[in-house]
């Protein structure tokens, strides 16, 4: 699920950018809910997630970092207290720039069958004064996963790692 939004800090150095992080919470929730609906609407079916941001040419890489908290919070809330850190990538790019969003298991980062990624982009975004923000959810492991390691069936689900 991608959204192209205006970057309120494009074109200038703004020391305090945290107010926009708050403002992104509502967008994060809307996107997480729509994404879950696309996958059928049952949070129990979602097994992996990731997030990312592409900053348009007039912005700073740091503006992409504003997505960490709202994007992560929204998916955790929609999925019912998922335990694992939400993996992420970010970059500065022009319209059509592609981003590889990493994916890991929602309750235990070390589940090896769920390490994956999804390439995303929007042909006409981000324009120079825009941000593209992305959320990814998956419903299962890699196809034909067979390289061992911690299995989803073995998760303790306490520390978000194992």
């Amino acid at each position: 699920m991608l959204a192209a939004i205006r970057n309120p800090y494009a074109g200038r150095y703004e020391p305090d950018i945290l107010p926009f992080m708050e403002a992104l919470n509502a967008l994060g929730l809307t996107m997480a809910e729509r994404l879950l609906a696309l996958l059928g609407g049952d949070p129990k079916r979602v097994e992996g997630y990731g997030k990312g941001a592409i900053v348009g040419a007039a912005g700073e890489l740091e503006h992409g970092a504003l997505w960490h908290v709202p994007g992560g919070y929204a998916m955790r809330r929609v999925l019912g207290d998922a335990k694992a850190i939400v993996p992420s990538t970010k970059k500065v790019g022009g319209p059509g720039a592609r981003l590889d969003v990493p994916v890991t298991h929602i309750n235990a980062s070390y589940v090896r069958s769920h390490f994956d990624a999804m390439e995303l982009g929007i042909p006409d975004a981000p324009r120079a004064d825009e941000l593209v923000v992305a959320l990814v959810m998956t419903t299962g492991p890699r196809i034909h996963a067979r390289v061992g390691g911690l299995k989803a069936s073995e998760i303790k689900g306490e520390d978000g790692l194992r």
Binding site: D16, A65, H68, P87, F115, A117, V147
Partner: protein
């Protein structure tokens, strides 16, 4: 099995200015990538152990090359990541076999410590496919200033029977980082998270 390496590409990215401001010291990212032959291209193999051995070899080789590109001591490395692109005759799972079981151990030796998970990405692709290598702090995954990524692209790889394997390291976080969260001087470095 030893990796059959066609080429190694090392890229150093140094950011000196951001939004009109000096970044001092500069933030620096290095990526070392190898183009290798995929021994399992074109046929299903159940046992991918040979690729796991290649991952172990490349974790050391690429980790050391990336650290050398930054010209710092291993202990000065602050964040890391890994990624792979599998050519069209392979399987996404081939990337998993290289990246996950054993590559991290040798990479951690190259950067000293490394309590945190090594963030990763993987995809299938043709010649010139770029990949964003995710970056996270090597000892505490929640350090917010070090969440980042670096894009790498090799114009003539991966060919259909090849795999591109990349390791990225930094000696710094993002330029002008200022979105709060756990700071690097607050790291305990025990559980890999904080």
């Amino acid at each position: 099995m030893k990796a059959e390496i066609r080429k190694i590409v090392v890229v150093l990215e140094e950011t000196r200015r951001e939004m009109g401001r000096e970044v001092n010291p500069s933030t620096r990212k290095a990526v070392a990538a190898a183009v290798i032959r995929n021994p399992f291209a074109g046929a299903y193999a159940q046992d991918l152990e040979p690729l796991m051995a290649i991952g172990e070899e490349l974790g050391g080789l690429l980790g050391e090359r990336a650290v050398a590109a930054l010209g710092v001591k291993p202990a000065q490395i602050e964040s890391y990541g890994k990624a792979a692109i599998v050519g069209e005759n392979g399987e996404l799972e081939h990337a998993a076999a290289i990246l996950h079981p054993r590559l991290g151990k040798r990479l951690r030796a190259a950067v000293e410590k490394g309590a945190a998970l090594v963030p990763s990405a993987k995809k299938m692709g043709g010649l010139g496919t770029p990949i964003d290598v995710p970056l996270g702090h090597k000892d505490a995954a929640f350090v917010r200033s070090h969440f980042d990524a670096v894009e790498v692209r090799i114009p003539d790889a991966p060919r259909a029977d090849e795999i591109v394997v990349a390791v990225a390291v930094t000696d710094s976080g993002r330029p002008l980082a200022r979105v709060g969260g756990l700071q690097k001087h607050e790291i305990k470095g025990e559980d890999g998270l904080r």
